[in-house]
Structures are given as C-alpha cells and as structure tokens.
C-alpha cells in the first residue's frame, strides 16, 4: 500500500490540474490573464529535493508522457520538459541546502522553466504566435502567482511525506 501512495498522489494532482481549469470561476478565467496550474511538476520537484533524484526523473518521465498523451496530443513536449527540469533542479540543489524556503523558490523556478520551455516548443511547431513580452504579461506572471500559492500551501505536508518516504526506502 505504501508503494502506491506516490503514484496515486501524483495522479490525483494530474486530474486536479484539469479539474482546476474546468471549474475555475468564469470571471477569473475569461479575463486577459491566463492561469496555468503546474501542481504536478511542482510536487515532483519537491520529491526530487526532499526524496531522491532518480525517483523524480522516473516520475517526470511517466507523468510527462501521460500528460502529453491525454491532454496535449503531441507526444514529446512535457515528456522532455518534466525530466529535464527535474535534472536541472537536482543539479541546483547540489549546491543549495534543502530547507523549505529554498525548496519553494527553486521549485517555482522549475515551474517557470517548464512554462517558458513549453512556450518555446509551441512556437517552434507553430501552435502559438504569441510574442515573448505578451507571454510574460499574459501567462507567465499570473501562472507563477497561482503556483506560488499552491507551493506555499503544499510545501510543508509534501516535505513531511517525501522525507518519510525517503527514510522508508533507506531501511
């Protein structure tokens, strides 16, 4: 049962992202700002920071693929971005110490990397024609605010969970 906790948690977050977009109050949603929930990758980044890097990359690959197949219908975008960001964050965390404050900032950085990476990839394959400044104002800043909210709420429980999980694996 313990082994199933992490996959179930991440799958729940995966569904939550889609539900969040579906039921966001229309007034908030219809305005010029676009809010994108990145709860899944933020949590995977916490797993990388407080748990193990290897697990983080594996979950990044699996859920990146799932996200691509189910939501995007173009395989390869989040399949690349999730593990790549996990890897970058793991490298950054080698120099920094893993306390709650730094972990939150680093995982917010990871979220912005995912968002910018997705924007660049969609620009290359002509899904979007937005220019970078519009992207910054319309998408990146509101998205980061939203995910900062999620990170502040979730960082402590997730830290407890992942540290417990890591210590269980040690035994």
């Amino acid at each position: 049962m313990r082994k199933l906790i992490l996959p179930l948690l991440f799958f729940f977050l995966f569904v939550l992202e889609s539900l969040f977009i579906q039921f966001l109050p229309a007034g908030l949603y219809d305005s010029k700002k676009i809010l994108v929930p990145h709860f899944l990758i933020a949590s995977i980044l916490f797993l990388t920071i407080f748990g193990s890097e290897k697990n983080g990359i594996i979950y990044g690959l699996i859920f990146g693929l799932l996200f691509d197949v189910v939501n995007v219908e173009i395989i390869g975008i989040y399949l690349l971005l999730y593990p790549l960001v996990v890897y970058v964050v793991a490298k950054i965390m080698k120099i920094l110490q893993a306390n709650i404050f730094i972990a939150s900032i680093v995982s917010l950085l990871g979220v912005s990397l995912v968002e910018i990476g997705a924007f660049e990839m969609y620009t290359i394959i002509h899904i979007t024609s937005m220019d970078f400044m519009t992207f910054l104002k319309m998408r990146l800043v509101p998205t980061l605010l939203l995910n900062a909210g999620f990170i502040i709420i979730a960082v402590y429980p997730l830290k407890r969970l992942f540290e417990k999980y890591a210590s269980l694996r040690m035994e």
Partner: protein
C-alpha cells in the same frame, strides 16, 4: 575515464533528442486515429478523470444553483415578458416548418444539409496548459462519435472532434490556433455572404471569419451560422454575432470579427452533432492536403 563518461552522456543526449523530434513529428502528422496504446492510456485516464470530475460537477452545480436562486425574482420578471413573445414565435416556426416540408415534398428533395442527430456528452477534462485548447468528453467510438463531428453547447458551436478513442474523445475548440481548423460559414440576412471561420483573436476573444466577398454588405449584430458546404458539418449551427468588419490585406475580401455565441471557458455539457446528409469524402476533395469543415 572521465572522457568516456562525457561521451556517453553526449550520446544519450543526442539519441534522446532524435527520439524526441521523431515523436513530435509522429504526433503532428495527419492521423485519422490515435494508435492503440494512446487510446488505451486515454481511455483509462478518462475513466479515472470522470470518477473525480462527475462528483465535482454535482458540487459545483449545487453552488451555482444557490447563486441562481439569488436573482430568481429579477430573472422571472424578464423571462415572463419573453415567454409571451416566444409563444408567437413558436406558432410561426411551426407554420414555416410545415410550409418548408410541403414545398420540399413538391420538389422531391427530402434531405437537407441541416438534418442532424445530436449526441449529448459530458466534459470530463480540459488541457491545463492552455496552448492547445482541448477538452475531453466521455463519449467515444462505441457511442457513435467520429472524427471531425461538430460540437456545440446550448448557445453555439464550440469546436470539432479531434480524435476518437473507444470510450472518450477529444474536442478541439474554435479558439485553438490550428490552420487546419476551417469551417464554412454563412451570414444570415446578407446575400452571397459565405466565408470561412479561420483563427481566433485571443486578445479580443473574437473569431475571425475570413474570405467574405468584398461587395457583401455586412452589419453589426448579424448572425453567423455554419453553411454545411464544407461537407462535414450540417448547416444552421449558430457560430456567433458580427461585432466588426474589416477589409482584408489586399482589399479583395472582408474579414468579419464574430463574437462567439458559446462561452469557451465554462463548458460542462456539450452536444456532438452528427450530420445525416452523406458526407463528402474529404480526401477526394483536396487530395488529403487540407480539410475545410
């Protein structure tokens, strides 16, 4: 040994980039249907999503009902005045329908482009990264859904079926930027006013109906509907109302900015429209290069 590890890492990187590009190319090409592993994953995820999404819809629906109760008195007043007009309109429509049927009988033309069969469906998910505007609905191939069918809400057209799995399908909204997403449209009350819905202005939240002949007189507030001439959608589905008209780049055509009748943001229940008139074989029309709906 570090030299060797460096090379190994480089090779892994290169190979994964090649696989990645191949995968993206594979999924971007014209596909009539997703491959079976994709269908399996989508159906499984769709089933799990609907487990969470349907109860959530009840909860949200409950709160929306509470909100509705607050304005009941005002709305009731307004609606009463409209009901009176509606009764007149209904009588008129029935008469016209009967006339239409009789005249068609005289002509010997029984089928029309506007014949359709609605299939109701519930939205179980939506793409959270809002680049591709995609929603997932809970009806699939076993319910008779096919690719390229029109999808509506009660207030207007919202998109077309992009791909079909066994038990779920994905719908691409009109607001998605996809050059292949072209729908033949017609402006009601103007002569010769055929155009194509091509693109979406995400800043102004307006649809662009392009290629309307330059000499057509268009007014604000005119209604735009599907024409059915693309060969896939039935005719007469509401798209929206004209807000603004501009001549195109070379002055040969006009572009109408249309406020969509449907709200693309608050979608919970949709109707998938099956056209009953024989569909044109898209590939034979244009050698499979593009598709106009």
């Amino acid at each position: 040994m570090p030299q060797f590890f460096l090379n190994k890492r480089l090779i892994v990187l290169l190979v994964s980039i090649i696989i990645l590009v191949a995968l993206i190319g594979f999924s971007l090409r014209e596909r009539s249907q997703p491959s079976w592993p994709e269908q399996f994953v989508k159906d499984t995820a769709g089933w799990a999503q609907s487990l969470v999404s349907k109860p959530a819809q009840y909860v949200v629906g409950f709160f929306e009902n509470l909100q509705d109760l607050q304005n009941t008195y005002q709305e009731n007043k307004q609606l009463k005045t409209r009901v009176v007009k509606l009764a007149q309109l209904e009588a008129k429509v029935q008469q016209l329908q009967k006339d239409n049927k009789d005249l068609r009988g005289v002509l010997g033309e029984k089928k029309t482009l506007s014949d359709l069969k609605p299939l109701p469906a519930t939205v179980i998910g939506r793409n959270p990264d809002r680049w591709n505007e995609i929603i997932i609905i809970d009806k699939g191939k076993i319910n008779g859904i096919k690719q390229n069918m029109a999808v509506m809400t009660a207030t207007g057209l919202i998109g077309k079926v992009k791909s079909v799995n066994q038990f779920s399908s994905t719908v691409q909204l009109l607001s998605a930027m996809d050059p292949k997403n072209r729908i033949s449209a017609y402006v009601q009350g103007a002569a010769n006013a055929y155009g194509l819905v091509e693109g979406y202005d995400s800043d102004k939240k307006l649809l662009l109906v392009k290629r309307i002949p330059y000499d057509t007189k268009l007014k604000k507030g005119q209604t735009v509907i599907t024409s059915g001439l693309g060969g896939v959608f039935p005719s007469g589905l509401l798209i929206g109302k004209i807000v603004d008209v501009k001549p195109d780049q070379y002055g040969l055509n006009q572009t109408a900015y249309v406020k969509p009748g449907a709200n693309f943001y608050d979608i919970q229940n949709v109707i998938v429209i099956q056209r009953l008139m024989t569909q044109a074989d898209v590939s034979s029309l244009n050698n499979g290069k593009e598709e106009d709906l």
